[in-house]
């Protein structure tokens, strides 16, 4: 314990599956997901709402809801440790410390009856053996780092007295307080205006340079993905359907879902106020996932084979994989 491996990826996820208990029995929200995050790397995780991004993140943190959710299989190796075999105590020690998370809805991560600064200071005292005074001073400077105006006053505010974006920044301050090795950030900048967003992204980059931080970034903001990520994972209905270096993903997406996703983006000049291109239909709920390709019902390339044979995540180029029987070859294709 304590000595960290320095070679090999920081995080290795292998065939991770998660289930939720629903009215219809256990249902798979995350279906044999595999990926790695190297040291200092930023990996983006994007995909349809409800596809299992947050569930994946919660499983990595060991924070799936008790009883309602569970890891149904697979392995998670973090810094050489088998996470799924660790004691709850050891996982608690890692959480908020070497492994930190920014939650999608900041209100759920904040205690409504405790002032915001105290919640950050508590993390510092728990993991960093700091005195009350030192932890409080560090908290004020963290508030400043994440761009909260009047930090010395704001640390004393209760969460409901802060605007949505300020709460978000408090949660970010809490996550980076102990300089984690891996930061899992679930929509960390959606509540922020773009000038503050730029400031947060800059802060993450500088932390990365200084501490070698790795980031798993869950976001639907493709602009943020383009600017911050080295590699991207695209998820659909519980599975990873495409993974590629960020440039290749934007220039030559291979999976029909990724192509549809990139196309739905409002762009200036695409004829304002006209209809945006949609992917027809909805994502299947976890209780009714198809047996073949999960995207088959909505795909414009689908053939009989797609309905019966689940496609595998095939290598299609350098570090580029897609789960499709008939991958797209060119943008016009």
């Amino acid at each position: 314990m304590g000595d960290h491996e320095t070679s090999g990826p920081l995080l290795e996820v292998e065939d991770l599956s998660c289930e939720f208990l629903t009215e219809a029995g256990p249902a798979r929200a995350v279906d044999e997901v595999s990926f790695t995050v190297a040291r200092g790397e930023t990996v983006g995780l994007v995909g349809e709402s409800g596809c299992g991004k947050s569930a994946t993140a919660l499983a990595l943190m060991g924070l799936l809801p008790h009883r309602a959710g569970r890891v149904a299989g697979g392995a998670i190796r973090f810094d050489g440790e088998e996470m799924l075999r660790l004691s709850e105590k050891r996982r608690r020690d890692l959480r908020g410390n070497r492994l930190a998370m920014v939650f999608q809805e900041p209100m759920t991560a904040l205690n409504p009856v405790m002032v915001a600064g105290e919640q950050v200071a508590e993390v510092l005292r728990r993991h960093r053996d700091m005195s009350r005074k030192a932890a409080w001073e560090k908290t004020v400077s963290l508030f400043e780092d994440v761009g909260i105006p009047a930090p010395a006053q704001r640390v004393r505010d209760y969460p409901h007295q802060l605007s949505g974006g300020m709460r978000q920044r408090v949660v970010i301050a809490m996550a980076i307080a102990c300089e984690p090795a891996l930061l899992i950030a679930d929509e960390p900048t959606t509540a922020l205006d773009v000038t503050i967003q730029a400031q947060i992204l800059e802060l993450l980059r500088s932390l990365q340079l200084r501490t070698g931080l790795s980031i798993l970034l869950i976001t639907h903001d493709l602009g943020v993905v383009a600017q911050l990520c080295d590699r991207v994972l695209v998820m659909y209905a519980g599975q990873i359907v495409e993974t590629a270096p960020v440039g290749a993903l934007f220039e030559a997406p291979r999976h029909p879902y990724t192509v549809g996703l990139l196309r739905s983006m409002p762009r200036p000049g695409s004829g304002d106020r006209t209809r945006l291109p949609e992917i027809p239909g909805n994502v299947p709920p976890i209780t009714a996932r198809p047996t073949g390709c999960h995207f088959a019902d909505r795909c414009d390339r689908t053939k009989a084979r797609c309905q019966d044979h689940p496609p595998l995540l095939d290598a299609l180029g350098p570090d580029h994989h897609a789960r499709c029987h008939f991958p797209v070859t060119s943008p016009q294709d």
Binding site: T22, V46, G47, E48, S49, K53, S54, P65, A68, Q104, E105, T108, G147, I148, P149, Q153, R154, Q161, S163, G164, G165, M166, E187, T190, A191, L192, D193, V194, T195, A198, Q199, E202, H220, D221, L222, G223, A226, Q227, V246, G247, F250, G260, L261, S264, M265, P266, R267, P268, S270, D272, R273, R275, L276, P277, I279, N282, P284, P285, T287, A288
Partner: protein, 340 residues
């Protein structure tokens, strides 16, 4: 001292506007002892807003600048400290709960934080049915369930989710439950507070298309609050840019995006992350982000303002909105059209 903005002239003079808000100010009491000169925090300062039926007005600005507060105030969900709100020709500024009730049905809010705005004990179906029950909008149970399923379908939620509780949904699914609730009562005006922020772009596209249909088919008007400038540009007719409680620029959408006049608007548009991987980082704003707890004297933007040649008044008195083009207003002393 401040130049009063003229009302937006997006409709012809004869048709009365759907919503007319004048000089809205919202203050919150802040705990004593928190601050030497304590008392109150001014979240919204002297804001005017006029909306025509079927109009979509975008509201963008710094996090914490008062967008949600303004939206809530217009719907009388937060008390206004000063100002006047007229809705469908009627002054509603001081209406009490009872006469307000029928009007509530006509104006709805899609809340920013779906987790906090949904009752954790209601299933999805119950949450969407609730407004129908309160406003007696379905003759019987069967009609109500039909309507609920229809609304779920409209916002792209599968029937299978009807029996789930909010904590059993993903973030984007929860957000759409909030949208379905707002649409349930067939309102004429919706304050949509970050309604698509938790949605990936493909679901977002479906929802934006739905809003656009409602606007063109049912003449629904929106105050659309968003940090996503691409979405605002796509959907809105006019846009107001807010900074520290005040409107600093207002224009037709195309004008605002193509010829922004206020230095904050210009910075905002520059900071939009490019969709090209590896695009060079743009220059960013520096300087202290001001706090409404202790607003700077003078122009609210002056501590971060990049304009080099600035008149003394910037540091002294907040500028009012002044007309700088067709349907275009800006609040900046350094602007050539600002009256001296």
């Amino acid at each position: 001292m401040s130049t009063k903005p003229q009302n937006a002239k997006t409709q012809n003079a004869e048709t009365p506007p759907l919503l007319k808000a004048e000089s809205i100010t919202v203050e919150y009491p802040v705990g004593a002892g928190l601050f030497g000169h304590g008392g109150s925090l001014r979240a919204v300062v002297d804001v005017d807003l006029t909306l025509a039926a079927g109009e979509c007005h975008g509201l963008v600005g710094e996090s914490g600048c008062g967008k949600s507060s303004l939206g809530r105030a217009l719907l009388r969900l937060t008390d206004v400290t000063a100002g006047r709100i007229e809705f469908e020709g009627r002054d509603i500024t001081h209406l009490s709960t009872r006469p307000l009730r029928p009007i509530r049905r006509r104006m709805q809010m899609i809340f920013q934080d779906p987790q906090a705005s949904l009752n954790p004990r209601f299933t999805v179906a119950q949450a969407v049915a609730e407004p129908l029950i309160i406003h007696r909008l379905a003759p019987n149970r069967a009609a109500r369930s039909r309507r609920v399923l229809e609304l779920l379908k409209d916002v792209g939620l599968d029937e299978d989710l009807a029996g789930r509780f909010p904590h059993e949904l993903s973030g984007g699914q929860r957000q759409r439950v909030g949208v379905a609730r707002a649409l349930a009562v067939d309102p004429s005006f919706i304050v949509a507070d970050e309604p698509v922020s938790a949605l990936d772009v493909s679901v977002q596209a479906q929802l934006l298309n739905l809003l656009e249909d409602l606007r063109s088919n049912r003449n629904l008007a929106f105050l659309f609050i968003s940090h996503d400038l691409r979405v605002v540009r796509h959907l809105c007719d006019r846009v107001s840019v807010m900074y520290l409680g005040r409107i600093v620029e207002r224009a037709d959408t195309a004008t605002l995006f193509e010829a922004p006049q206020h230095p904050y608007t210009q910075a905002l548009l520059r900071a939009l992350p490019s969709l090209e991987p590896g695009a060079p980082a743009t220059d960013r704003l520096t300087g202290e982000v001001p706090s409404p707890l202790d607003p700077p004297r003078g122009c609210p933007f002056h501590p971060r303002c990049p304009v080099t040649e600035r008149p003394e008044t910037c540091f002294d008195t907040p500028p009012g909105l002044t007309t700088c083009g067709k349907n275009h207003q800006v609040a900046c002393y350094a602007h050539p059209q600002y009256p001296s």
